[in-house]
């Protein structure tokens, strides 16, 4: 049931009311609404740029396709793609800073720190779910191959965070692009340069690397946000 724009305008005009006199005073007395963590994270999905979602899904669709088509070296193909998934995460993270909106967003109802964390969690979880789905599709074991794929992903994310903290503006984003290209080449190259890294008995090294990168990521996230806050304050 639709009405034309003109009809809507006329209706609004016909139903116009005298301006409320006590609105602002009253609204100030209302308690602030508390938003749950889940609601906050879900609400941020709409603010992540559509093309970031589109490219993320496209990337994993491509990975799923390749995983089914390729008969060998699937894990190296996938590990070459993972840095680009991480690049999308960093591009979203650095959006406020690159477009000079971080100061404004820091003073909004939810601080930039919370908003960015919510968006990173949202996008990161979706990408990891994509990984969870595609790894078994390729007929690979989730534990070992998942580790081989997580390392380039986390490494790109960590180096990307360092880059956007150190290099302000859009230049930082270009550096992130270069980092993901570098990791993209590095991951499959390791297989030929240090093949023993992929031996069964060395798997613990990969677990260690994932944990180390995760700790590094959390630390770097906090440092970057603190740095932006100090930067704005100055």
């Amino acid at each position: 049931m639709r009405i034309s724009k003109k009809e809507k305008e006329l209706l609004e005009q016909a139903f116009s009311v005298p301006a409320p006199k006590k609105k602002n005073t009253f609204l100030r007395t209302l308690p602030k609404q508390e938003v749950g963590l889940g609601t906050l994270i879900l609400s941020q999905a709409a603010y992540i740029r559509k093309w970031i979602w589109a490219v993320s899904f496209l990337l994993f669709a491509l990975v799923a396709f390749v995983a089914q088509m390729a008969e060998q070296d699937v894990v190296w193909i996938l590990s070459a793609v993972m840095p680009f998934a991480a690049l999308l995460l960093i591009l979203e993270f650095a959006k406020s800073s690159a477009y000079g909106m971080s100061e404004l967003e820091m003073s909004s109802r939810f601080s930039l720190r919370t908003i960015l964390l919510a968006r990173m969690v949202m996008l990161g979880v979706v990408q990891l779910l994509g990984l969870l789905l595609t790894v078994p599709m390729a007929g690979m074991t989730l534990v070992s191959n998942g580790l081989y794929l997580l390392v380039p992903y986390l490494l790109t994310a960590l180096l990307g965070l360092v880059a956007v903290r150190r290099i302000q503006g859009k230049e930082g984003l270009f550096v992130c692009g270069s980092i993901s290209a570098f990791v993209c080449i590095l991951a499959p190259m390791l297989k030929y340069v240090v093949p023993m890294l992929y031996d069964q008995e060395n798997r613990i090294l990969w677990v260690f690397a994932v944990l180390l990168l995760l700790v590094g990521l959390v630390k770097e996230y906090r440092t970057t946000i603190n740095h932006w806050e100090e930067f704005v304050w100055n």
């Binding site: 049931m1 009405i3 009809e7 809507k8 006329l10 209706l11 609004e12 005009q13 016909a14 139903f15 009311v17 005298p18 409320p20 006199k21 006590k22 609105k23 009253f26 609204l27 209302l30 308690p31 609404q33």
Partner: protein, 151 residues
Amino acid sequence: MDYEAQYDKIYRYCYYKVNNAAVAEDITQETFLRFLENSTYTEKGKELNYLYTIARNLCIDEYRKRVSEELPEELSIESAEEAIVEGLDMRCALAKLTHMERELVLLRFVNEVPVKVICELQECSRFALNRRLKQVLKKLRGYLEEKGAGK
């Protein structure tokens, strides 16, 4: 929920129920206070429904209190003299609708209340509501065309 945006919509809804700006604003504020008192209900995802139900009940109470009183001049169509002619035509056309029909138009097309919420408020099915809305719109457009043809 955006209280600020909903405040204006509930106020408009109350105003067209009680026809008095001060009373409408008092009812609007009372609506919000009662809404916030019952925090368990607000978490069930039916906030709008709850808000409009409180507002409607408070308006009914107010209406019962002063059912014999004359309508204040704020409602009169004459007060729209300053409005542009088209706006006046719309007001005249709306005045020809029943109270229930006007409320439907206000809820759906002005306050943009979701169909699901109106169905629950009016205790009718989605199909019945769509049929009613269609009839009301047809009626409204008919009146407007009549007005247009008369000029």
